[in-house]
Symmetry: C2
Amino acid sequence: MRVWSVANQKGGVGKTTSAITLAGLLAARGHKTLLMDLDPHGSLTSYFGGDPDNGATGVYGLFQNSAAPTLKGLVQTTRFPRLYYVPATTALATLDRQCGAADGMGLVLTRALVQVSRLFDTVLLDCPPVLGVLMVNALAACDRLLIPVQTEFLALKGLERMLRTLTMIQRARASSLEYILVPTLYDRRTRAAQDALRVLHERYDENCWNGEIPVDTRFREASRIGAPLSSYQPAARGALAYNALLDHLLAPSMAV
Amino acid sequence: MRVWSVANQKGGVGKTTSAITLAGLLAARGHKTLLMDLDPHGSLTSYFGGDPDNGATGVYGLFQNSAAPTLKGLVQTTRFPRLYYVPATTALATLDRQCGAADGMGLVLTRALVQVSRLFDTVLLDCPPVLGVLMVNALAACDRLLIPVQTEFLALKGLERMLRTLTMIQRARASSLEYILVPTLYDRRTRAAQDALRVLHERYDENCWNGEIPVDTRFREASRIGAPLSSYQPAARGALAYNALLDHLLAPSMAV
Ligand SMILES: Nc1ncnc2c1ncn2[C@@H]1O[C@H](COP(=O)(O)OP(=O)(O)OP(=O)(O)O)[C@@H](O)[C@H]1O
Ligand SMILES: Nc1ncnc2c1ncn2[C@@H]1O[C@H](COP(=O)(O)OP(=O)(O)OP(=O)(O)O)[C@@H](O)[C@H]1O
Ligand SMILES: [Mg+2]
Ligand SMILES: [Mg+2]
C-alpha cells in the first residue's frame, strides 16, 4: 500500500485539490483509493458532502486513548467506484492542545494505517496548512510527500520553511522521505509566474516535477458538484496535468 | 486605537493581502499603523523582508510567562512612512502544544496591545488559517473582524464553520464583535463566482460588504517587491477596491 501525504504550511496552494484529483484518477485507473482529511476545516469532507461539524469521530477518534475506533470503521464511501474517504471533524482543532508535550502522539496514523494495508492500493493524506500534530503524523506515516507550490515569489520564500520542517521530521523517521514539488496555479501569461517557475527549477530541480498544474476555473466548478475534476471533465487542462503528474509518480524507476 | 483582526480558517483567501493592502492605505492617509503577523508560516514577515526562522522573539515572546518582552520593543519599521509590523517566528507553531489547557492564554494579546494604545491609530492582526490559541487571542483583542471569503462554493461551506467559531468566542468576550465579510479573488467573468457572490449576499447580507476585491495579478508583483499594492500601483484595480473597502470601514455610522 502506497501512502502519499499532500502538505504545505502555506494556505490555499491546492493541497486538497491535488489530493482529490489524484485520488479520482487513481480510482478511475482501477486502484482502490482512500483519502484522509486531516484538516479541522474539513474542505475535503465538505467536498464529498460530509459535515465536519457533525460530532461523529472521523480522524479525531483515532487520537483518543481509550477505545479508539478502528480506522476501517471510519471509512466512508463516495459515489465514485473504488474511492473512499475518512472525514475530518472540527474537533481536530483541539488535538494540539490535548496532546501537549505527550510523546508517542506522532505515530497514531502510522499504527492505524497498518490496519487497512490490505484494503487499499493508495492512501492520500490531505494536510492542514499548519505544522502541528496532524502534519507530523502524516509526515511520519507516508512513504512519499507531495508539496504543491504556488508559482509566485512569496510562495518560494515559504517553501524554504516547509523544507526545513521536513528535515526536522526526517530525523524521527526510520527511512528517509522522498518529496516532490508540484508547481500549481500556474498562469503562463504572467511574467511573475514564469520567473517563479524558473527559480523553482534552478533551486530545487532534482525534487521538482518537470510539469505544472495550470490555473483552470473548472476546478471550482468540480468542487461545486463534489466530483473530482478527472471524473467531471477528464479532458479539462487541469485534469490532464494531474494525469501527467500521476504517470510521473507511478513510473517504475521514479527518481523523484 | 482601532484593532482589526483578519481571519478565516480557510487557507489562501487573501488574509495577508487584505491586512497589508489596508495597512498601506491607512499609512498613506496619515494613520500610524501596526501590522502583527500571527501566522507561524510568516507570510507577512517575509513580505517585508523579515525572516520567520530568525530566532528573535517577535509575537512568540509575548506568550512566554517569564520576562515577556514589551510589545513596543518588538515593533519593526518598514520603508513606508507610518507603517510598522511585529514579525512572526516559526516557534509560534509550538504555542498550542505549550499552552495546553492552561487558562488565561486567550488574553495575552489584549493585555499587550494596551501598552501601545497611544502609539498607533490602527492595529491589524493577520491570523493563521487554523483555529488555535493565536486566533482566539486575535478574536478576543479586536473590536472588528474582517473575514475574507473567496467567491466560490466550497468557500461558502467553510464560512459557516468560521461563523460558528465566532459564536463560540463571542461568549468569552465582554462586548459583542462586529464582523464583515469581504468577497475576495472575484473573477466577474466566471459564472461560479457570480453565483457564489449572489448566495453570499442572500445568506449574510447585513454583514457582507457590498463591494468585492477582484482578481488582480498585480498583487503578486507587489508581493515580489515587498510593497503594499496601494504604494506600488495605487490605480490598480485591486488597490482601488481595497480603497473603497477602507472608506466603508471608516465611515462614521458604519452599520456593518
Ligand atoms: N489549478 C487550479 N486552478 C484554479 N483554481 C484552483 C486550482 N487549484 C486549486 N484551485 C482553487 O483554489 C482554491 C484553493 O485550493 P485548495 O482548497 O485545494 O487549497 P489548499 O492548499 O487545500 O487550501 P488550505 O490551505 O485551506 O487547505 C480552491 O478554491 C480551488 O478550487
Ligand atoms: N485579489 C487578488 N487577486 C489576485 N491574487 C491575489 C488576490 N488576493 C490574494 N492574492 C494572491 O493569492 C495568494 C494567497 O493570498 P494570501 O497569502 O493573502 O492569502 P491568506 O489567506 O493570507 O493565506 P494563508 O491561509 O496561507 O494565510 C497570494 O499569492 C496572493 O498574492
Ligand atoms: Mg486544503
Ligand atoms: Mg496569510
